[in-house]
């Protein structure tokens, strides 16, 4: 018996929005969206009207007024005559410096520790286990304060380095080149006597000498690769590999060295003068302790991620590699890690993001990052809480989105290609 399949399409009626399952889902979503928008509008109106009630408005013009305060660590030119927006920019750079340095260091250390955690050596694996548990289970803020306290309480004051009657209470390390005081670490600074001109932009200046050296170094590495490729080609054709080490060394070192000598490279050593060390490169302990704590803490987290990533690779892989006669180190670097990376990278992305956001804990040690400048002193001196906070949240949001976009792009380039 045939059933008529072509039922007449029911005419659209308003009640169909509720009773017809085809429309109901959309109806509900539209209602929820409208409610959410109304709620958001109500909140914004509430903020606006309450601010108006207190005679306040939303105004970002304070960003262009004179900041009037000083920032100890500034990587771009900054004085107290600079506007607030530049102070915020200085803070942003300080945030990014800590985030980038700590991300790199913690990733390297974390991968190393994660591999050690799986070591067959009982003591090594347990020691790393203790490290991981210790750092993961104590709040990061406490590590930051502890590191900072260790520096400020255990190291001598700068004036102890002063030589009185040929004797100083404290000595500099590394053949009188490095001084770690209770305020900062002073190391020699590479200086050029005859640098190439710098290009000044309103926001920062570019040292062409640095660019030139980087380009030169890149070119040397590229030339060296050509050399090695040629050596491999000869080896495959004749079975004999030509000796290349002295050529490699020459290609890698000589051009850069020549350029450095031509520009008058030398080291500027820190010297105690007046109240503090002058000259050289000075790393404030606020920076050092924040970087160290972030590195150690996130290395512990990374170690766990790496361990789980490695354990996710089936044992058959390493057994097969051993059967081929590869040594354990090469099995790890050629077989296990490249596959484990696919498991490791997605959780690592969120770790880098957390690390970047956690740099704002630098407030505990008076590190003037974005939170310290825009969200701290600027907010306070101008009294523009809402504007500063909104701006700061947007900047952190943008940084996070950029990091995750880059990391996700990398992730999709290494993930298993399925066709």
């Amino acid at each position: 018996m045939a059933v008529a399949n072509d039922l007449p399409k029911p005419e659209f009626r308003l009640s169909a929005l509720i009773y017809d399952t085809r429309y109901r889902a959309i109806t509900i979503q539209v209602i929820v969206l409208i409610l959410a928008l109304l709620f958001a509008a109500w909140l914004m109106e509430n903020v606006r009207s309450n601010l108006a009630l207190k005679g306040k408005d939303i105004d970002f013009s304070f960003l262009w007024r004179r900041a009037g305060y000083d920032i100890g660590q500034h990587l771009i030119p900054y004085t107290n005559d600079s506007p607030h927006i530049r102070a915020a920019f200085v803070g942003l750079i300080n945030t990014m410096v800590v985030a980038v340095v700590a991300s790199i260091l913690s990733t390297i250390l974390g991968v190393f520790l994660g591999v050690l955690r799986l070591s067959k050596n009982w003591i090594v694996s347990r020691l790393v286990g203790v490290y991981v548990e210790m750092f993961r289970n104590v709040p990061l803020l406490l590590w930051i304060i502890l590191t900072s306290a260790i520096f400020s309480e255990s190291r001598p004051q700068p004036k102890d380095f002063k030589v009185i009657d040929g004797v100083a209470k404290a000595d500099m390390s590394f053949w009188n080149s490095v001084a770690i005081t209770n305020r900062s670490s002073n190391v020699p600074m590479p200086v050029l006597d005859r640098p190439l001109p710098t290009i000044d932009t309103p926001w920062f200046s570019i040292s062409t000498s640095l660019v030139a050296i980087a380009v030169l170094l890149g070119a040397s590495i590229w030339a060296n690769r050509l050399l090695l490729r040629r050596a491999t080609a000869i080896q495959q054709a004749t079975g004999l590999r030509p000796t290349t080490w002295w050529q490699s060394t020459a290609i890698l070192i000589v051009p850069t060295l020549a350029a450095l000598i031509a520009m008058g490279f030398h080291l500027d050593y820190p010297v105690f003068k007046g109240f503090n060390f002058q000259g050289g490169l000075s790393f404030d302990h606020a920076f050092t302790s924040l970087t160290i704590s972030l590195t150690l803490y996130y290395a512990a987290v990374t170690a766990e991620i790496v361990r789980s990533g490695i354990q996710a690779i089936s044992r058959g892989q390493s057994e097969a590699a051993f059967a081929l006669g590869l040594r354990p180190g090469r099995v790890m670097s050629l077989i296990i890690l490249p596959q484990a990376l696919r498991v490791i990278i997605p959780p690592m992305i969120s770790q880098w993001l957390s690390l970047t956001k956690d740099t704002s804990l630098g407030i505990a040690v008076s590190y003037l990052d974005l939170r310290g400048t825009l969200g701290g002193i600027t907010l306070n001196q101008t009294g523009r809480e809402l504007e500063c906070m909104v701006l700061m949240m947007m900047i952190y949001l943008i940084i996070s989105l950029i990091i995750s976009a880059i990391a996700n792009a990398y992730n999709s380039s290494v993930k298993l290609k399925e066709r």
């Binding site: 909140l43 309450n50 207190k54 005679g55 009037g68 004085t79 004051q157 109240f275 101008t382």
Partner: protein, 338 residues
């Protein structure tokens, strides 16, 4: 989810602020307690004592205002604030009154929209250093590392002073006085700068006060006083005239000890008006007529409060100086009670 929480917080904050904008006196009376923003801990000005009760020169202003409103100086809820959080606390209505060695400046008065009710301490910014540093003038601090409380006027004065003298320094920003003392003691900074009164208070609490000196330079004017929000003039008047009542009491020789005796025997019409024996002065502000009497009876007149908390008999040992009455060469002066 995260957004909802954020907007919820924002909305709650906004709602609370809306409520606080209604008549402050009515709010305080309905609440039965005065919310007073004070120091987290600056000995002599506002710090909890061994029993956890707040004591100090600023705290006594809070007590006097509470006494003027309720006739009971204990009806105060102290809200500890840092240099960074104090103005937000006042602007948002978390506190009714802020007495926290806060400098009266143009931009705070106009742009931040606060009203200073008076100046309870005329101060200036100074520097404290270790004696063995061998420094005798702030101009010798070229290249020094200096501890500075963030969110204060001193932060800006410091930058200006070093700039105008063409010398350099490294700032170490600290959150509050306790943090500054810790850093200063550990030698993380060569000098500590804040209001000279604050330096004297800090110095008194250091392990060996005699090892430290306060340099002679005073690099700024720091008129410190109690402040309220813009927009509620009656509330501003209550705080202002409570403070002036304490000053007038010193002028007229009314003390905590003799106030009852003066009240019963005085023939001075102004004293009679202050003490609420004649006239309806209190009613004009919505208070009882004996408001000023209660305020004075709480901890005595301005001079008594000064001597008890920060005067020469205390470890802080501040001289009256600019804060003497105008009749004794100082700047403290009360408009007439008429």
């Amino acid at each position: 989810m995260k957004n909802t929480v954020f907007f919820g917080t924002l909305a709650t904050g906004a709602l609370l602020a809306g409520i606080a904008a209604a008549g402050t006196l009515d709010d305080v009376k309905a609440r039965g307690v005065l919310n007073c923003g004070v120091h987290t801990g600056l000995t002599g000005f506002g710090a909890p004592d061994a029993n956890g009760d707040y004591q100090g020169f600023d705290v006594d202003i809070c007590k006097a205002v509470a006494a003027a409103i309720f006739g009971d100086q204990s009806k105060v809820k102290y809200v500890p604030t840092t240099g960074e959080t104090r103005f937000t606390a006042l602007a948002s209505g978390e506190v009714d009154l802020l007495v926290r060695t806060s400098t009266w400046t143009y931009s705070r008065d106009t742009d931040l929209k606060f009203d200073w009710a008076g100046v309870n301490y005329y101060d200036g910014q100074g520097f404290m250093v270790r004696k063995d540093l061998g420094v005798s003038s702030a101009k010798e601090l070229d290249g020094a590392t200096i501890c500075i409380q963030t969110g204060t006027t001193t932060e800006l004065n410091l930058a200006d002073y070093f700039k105008s003298n063409n010398i350099k320094y490294t700032p170490v920003t600290v959150a509050d006085d306790a943090d500054a003392q810790r850093q200063f003691l550990a030698g993380a900074c060569d000098a500590y700068t804040t209001d000279a009164s604050g330096l004297a208070a800090s110095r008194a609490t250091l392990p060996k006060p005699d090892d430290y000196v306060i340099l002679p330079e005073i690099i700024s004017k720091e008129p410190l006083g109690p402040l309220v929000r813009h927009g509620d003039n009656n509330w501003g008047d209550i705080v202002r005239w409570t403070f002036y009542a304490l000053l007038a009491a010193e002028e007229k020789g009314i003390t905590k000890a003799n106030i009852e005796e003066v009240a019963s025997s005085t023939t001075d019409p102004e004293v009679r008006r202050i003490l609420g024996i004649e006239g309806d002065e209190g009613k004009m502000m919505g208070l009882d007529n004996n408001w000023a009497k209660n305020a004075i009876a709480a901890n005595g007149n301005y001079g008594e409060i000064f001597e008890a908390n920060i005067g020469s008999a205390t470890p802080i040992k501040l001289a009256r100086g600019l804060n003497a009455l105008w009749t004794q060469g100082g700047l403290q002066y009360s408009p007439p009670f008429r």
